[in-house]
């Protein structure tokens, strides 16, 4: 898609972890451009650095070297506080283990990010209704996560991740805890919602099947993208 703006740009990105005396290089001078609206799968073995890369893009972690630019903002130049505010506005997360807040019901789990972004209550309620309808959970708004199935929980997590209309959606093994049928459903839903809203998505996954839904597939191997 020539002419489409770059949404995520990595330049010479490195991240190392120290384990006692040993230094473990997880990401080694990565360069990457992801265009707006593109969906990219990030594949690699366990420990290859997929989650680390997602954390760096989301501003959860900071690199040892290099830059991460998301939606035109150099995330690596921000303070921790500003990274938090940036993440709050521009990033949506979907995790393997769903990570819903167990003490909040479905609607409130979605409302949480809207409230953090100071979306007015009436507008927030309307958006929650729409999103829950979109993920087919309109009738479970008052339910708590512990009574939902894995697929339902992940659909709530997707609604939560998209509620504040982030520029970028980061998904870390979003179907890793689900059976094949459920995983398929969740994947279709995620794909549809992301594409319909024109958002950029980066998915870390082991699965070839998941990767096949994406526009582009990248392999992370020995700290390098292939």
């Amino acid at each position: 898609m020539p002419g489409t703006p770059i949404e995520i740009q990595l330049r010479a990105l490195s991240r190392r972890f120290r384990e006692g005396e040993r230094e473990h290089v997880v990401l080694d001078g990565l360069d990457l451009d992801i265009q707006q609206g593109e969906t990219v799968a990030l594949r690699g073995r366990s420990g290859s650095g997929k989650s680390t890369l997602l954390n760096l893009v989301g501003g959860i972690d900071a690199p040892d070297a290099g830059t991460v630019t998301v939606a035109g903002v150099d995330v690596t130049s921000l303070t921790e506080h500003d990274r938090t505010l940036f993440r709050r506005q521009h990033i949506g997360f979907v995790y393997q283990a769903f990570n819903l807040v167990p003490t909040l019901n479905v609607a409130d789990n979605v409302r949480l990010v809207l409230e953090l972004n100071q979306v007015p209550a009436v507008k927030a309620s309307s958006r929650i209704d729409k999103l829950l309808a979109a993920v087919d959970l309109a009738d479970r708004a008052g339910s708590f996560p512990d009574v939902l199935s894995g697929g339902e929980q992940q659909r709530v997590a997707i609604a939560r991740a998209l509620a504040h209309e982030p520029a970028v959606l980061l998904a870390d093994e979003p179907t890793g805890n689900l059976d094949d049928t459920t995983a398929d459903g969740v994947l279709m839903l995620l794909d549809k919602l992301v594409r319909d809203s024109g958002r950029t998505m980066l998915i870390a996954t082991h699965s070839q099947h998941v990767a096949s839904h994406c526009d582009r597939v990248l392999e992370l191997h020995n700290g390098k993208l292939e």
Partner: protein
């Protein structure tokens, strides 16, 4: 509307109600103890001040005299010769009515309107103010009292009543009551005519004082009054006298407040513990919230607001329980004040808004302070989803040396504070708290070392379960340390206080044995002199070889009150005084012949005087200088005392009264027979106490024990707080380790084995707490004895550490921990492995 983030956080607490309740209880008890002590102290003080205010009335000044008081003739002279009108004579003293103590106030109704309004404001169908005048004048034994007191004593107007005063029974008639209009200052005050009071209290010809009303800034009137007084009488400010009397109990009240703060300190550890746990357990939630965009500041505010709300709710309950507890403590506090300082009648706790606010602030403040550390730590979590336990423990391990260093610095600061603060009591108590905190911060490092070393040993003895139990203490230090510290601090407080009281009791017992040299002691039961004829008769009794006499007097001047003891001693009694700073031979040589006095050690310490110094005392001939011949050891419950010989006293005071005797018997005499003979001699006169040397020692120690009952109550409450703390810690630990226990169950451990492992671990926690408490307790006892008691009361106590106190304390710590571990052990044993795994 409550923000969703806060709802997420609070809902967690509501989903773990027992944990929430336990953390609330820590604050509730801590605040309750503080409020209770504060209310009991302030109620007792307020009751005393209100009573003094009611009795003093409009009087601005009081004319006082020597040990016998003010000669009656002086009052007449002031009125008639000098034309001073705004004065009123007073004779007052203690009486009892049907076993209830009261204060008798003898007044002259003609002069009263100038000073006290209430005495003329009678209220009854048959009596008005004018008939009361007539009754007072013509009928002896006529009394009035407040409506409330009459009700309390079950008296109605017209009733006759038995009044016990000066060791005799007197018949009285209640002719009227006056309204108290809710003024509790008038409680237990019985008013009578001055002549009746003089007769009942054995003060014929003497007044206790003359109350005077001098207009604001009317220096001329004051000078005129002072000029009209003969030598030996002085005019003092009424408010100043009240204040200096009330201030006598300040050290006692400060010590009680410190004890109550100790309960809150232990409570503080508990709050820290529970907030710490709730933060640790929610680290996943915190990670999600941080990932979704909650800033560090918002997270900090969320945790602190949560702690503040918990603190406020708990403090509110604490205040309610505090008021109820205050009612119970009030009796103990007022009894101790009555034993040690001054008479106070107080039956109800008055709820002071300031005490309530203090309790609320203490509760919320403690919760916020305790929550601050875990809250700050939580903000340092990276916004990842779950910090592993090993990461948390590594963090805890990393800060351990710094925490220990701060602890050592705290202890050094405590020592420096003691060295530089002279005799300041508050600084001494601050040092105690610094010492406790400093030592507490060192405990985790020691626990880790002990647990690491002990684990292999435990493995050899009890197998892998035992090794896991012991090693679990160190590997879960971020959870176990605070529980161990809270229990150790509470147990060390019991050791400190027990060793202090035990040492004190030992010193007092030894001192009584040395001081009480006579075989029998007798004297007037209440204020009042013994009949001289009776004294002579006792002196001549068969078997009585010699006697010593004693007179207690209170000397007062603008600097305050000085308790004076006047002795006529046989040489055999000299050894009863342990002279501390002079040659006893020289002291006793000068005892009767020169104007020398002895001062008790507490008096010497509080007034910074000693052998060779001079002391000015008011005498019947004006102020006189006396040379201090020596300081002697004393644990007299009245704390400060000046002692002089009868001969010296006779040269300076026109008073030959004696209020008690010591009887030295011949070797062949039978003590019981002589006691019976003394009782027979006094059968028709005022009631006397007659007791053997042994009996007096027993009674003295009984009073000693009574004054420490309140201390016992407070430290049991502190232990209660600690117990709740360890229970809370064990329950939380069990929740935290649900997956670990589930895994063990899945691997084939039986519920009994899992429960046994937890019980063993709580036992180890109790043992380590108990062992850590021993050195802290002993050091605390040392500071309480050598610094706090010395500064508060001037007492010098020999410290003795009874091994049984230490042993029982360690056993208590183990027992408390085991008891607290029973429920978590049972619960862990009952949990289904599958469910526990899924919940995690």
């Amino acid at each position: 509307m409550i923000p969703v983030t806060y709802r997420a956080s609070f809902s967690y607490l509501l989903r773990h109600p027992w944990q929430l309740v336990l953390s609330l209880i820590g604050i509730v008890i801590g605040v309750a103890v503080i409020v209770a002590v504060d209310l009991a102290n302030s109620s007792a003080r307020k009751a005393f001040l209100m009573s003094m205010d009611a009795i003093t009335g409009q009087a601005t000044h009081q004319v006082i005299g020597g040990p016998l008081g003010v000669p009656e003739s002086v009052y007449a002279d002031l009125r008639v010769e000098h034309g001073i009108r705004q004065i009123a004579p007073v004779v007052d003293g203690s009486i009892s009515i049907g076993g209830a103590s009261a204060q008798l106030l003898g007044i002259d109704l003609f002069a009263e309107q100038e000073i006290r309004g209430f005495t003329g404001d009678v209220r009854s169908a048959e009596t008005d103010a004018s008939s009361l005048f007539v009754d007072f004048l013509v009928e002896p034994g006529v009394v009035t009292t407040s409506e409330h007191t009459a009700r309390e004593l079950g008296l109605a107007v017209g009733d006759t009543l038995e009044v016990s005063a000066g060791g005799r029974q007197h018949e009285a008639r209640l002719v009227a009551v006056f309204p108290d209009d809710g003024n509790s200052g008038l409680e237990r005050i019985v008013v009578t005519d001055i002549a009746t009071a003089q007769e009942w209290l054995g003060q014929a010809g003497w007044l206790s004082r003359i109350d005077a009303r001098v207009g604001d800034g009317d220096a001329d009137a004051l000078m005129r009054l002072e000029a009209a007084l003969p030598d030996g009488l002085q005019v003092l400010s009424a408010a100043g006298r009240t204040r200096s009397t009330a201030d006598m109990s300040r050290a006692f009240m400060t010590n009680l407040t410190a004890m109550s703060l100790l309960a809150l300190l232990v409570g503080l550890f508990l709050i820290f513990n529970s907030v710490n746990f709730s933060v640790l357990q929610r680290r996943g939630l915190i990670g999600v919230l941080r990932a979704l965009g909650l800033t560090r500041r918002q997270l900090l505010a969320m945790i602190l607001i949560e702690a503040g709300v918990i603190g406020l709710v708990a403090a509110t309950f604490g205040v309610v329980f505090g008021v109820a507890l205050g009612e119970q403590l009030l009796d103990l506090v007022s009894r101790t004040i009555n034993d040690l300082y001054f008479r106070v009648n107080v039956t109800d706790v008055s709820i002071e808004p300031f005490s309530v606010i203090k309790g609320l602030v203490a509760g919320v403040g403690a919760a916020l302070v305790a929550a601050a550390v875990p809250a700050i730590e939580a903000t340092s979590y990276p916004p990842q989803l779950a910090l592993t336990r090993s990461t948390l423990e590594r963090r805890a391990g990393r800060v351990l040396p710094l925490v220990t260093l701060i602890g050592v610095a705290g202890m050094i600061a405590a020592v420096i504070l003691v060295l530089i603060s002279g005799s300041d009591l508050v600084a001494g108590l601050t040092a105690v708290f610094l010492l406790i905190l400093g030592f507490a911060l060192c405990i985790p490092l020691v626990v880790r070392a002990a647990s690491t070393i002990g684990a292999p040993l435990a493995g050899k003895i009890g197998g892998s379960s035992a090794r896991m139990a012991v090693a679990g203490v160190a590997s879960g230090l971020s959870r176990t340390a605070v529980a161990i510290v809270a229990l150790a601090v509470a147990v060390s407080a019991t050791i400190g206080v027990s060793v202090m009281v035990d040492s004190f009791r030992g010193s007092v017992s030894q001192w009584l044995e040395q001081t009480l040299r006579a075989d029998i002691y007798t004297g007037s039961l209440r204020e009042g002199a013994m009949d001289p004829a009776l004294i002579e008769a006792i002196r001549k009794l068969d078997g009585v070889e010699t006697i010593s006499t004693r007179k207690r007097a209170s000397l007062e001047d603008a600097n305050g009150r000085t308790q004076l003891r006047v002795f006529e001693l046989p040489p055999a009694a000299f050894d009863g005084f342990e002279i501390l700073d002079a040659d006893p031979a020289e002291v006793w040589l000068a005892w009767e012949h020169a104007d020398t006095i002895l001062v008790s050690e507490p008096y010497a310490y509080q007034n910074q005087v000693g052998a060779g110094d001079r002391l000015t005392l008011p005498t019947d001939f004006g102020p006189r200088d006396f040379r201090i011949a020596a300081t002697f050891q004393s644990y007299d419950i009245n704390a400060s005392a000046v002692t002089m010989s009868r001969a010296t006293y006779a040269r300076h005071y026109r008073d030959d009264s004696i209020d008690s005797l010591g009887l030295y018997l011949a070797d062949s005499a039978d003590i019981d027979s002589v006691i019976a003979a003394v009782e027979a001699l006094s059968a028709d006169g005022p009631r006397l106490y007659v007791t053997s040397n042994e009996g007096l020692q027993t009674e003295s120690l009984r009073i000693f024990d009574r004054t420490f009952v309140i201390t016992d109550v407070l430290y049991w409450l502190t232990l209660g707080v600690a117990f709740i703390g360890i229970l809370s810690a064990m329950v939380a630990l069990q929740l935290e380790r649900a997956r670990e226990f589930a895994t063990l169950r899945a691997l084939g451990m039986t519920p009994v084995q899992v429960g046994g492992m937890i019980t063993a671990q709580t036992g180890v926690i109790g043992l380590l707490s108990g062992l850590a408490a021993v050195p802290l307790g002993v050091v605390m006892a040392y500071v309480l004895i050598k610094v706090i008691n010395r500064r508060a009361f001037g007492w010098q106590i020999d410290m003795t550490v009874a091994p049984d106190i230490l042993g029982v304390s360690v056993l208590f710590a183990i027992g408390a921990a085991l008891l607290a571990g029973l429920y978590p052990a049972w619960r862990a044993g009952q949990s289904q492995p599958a469910i526990a795994m899924r919940e995690e």
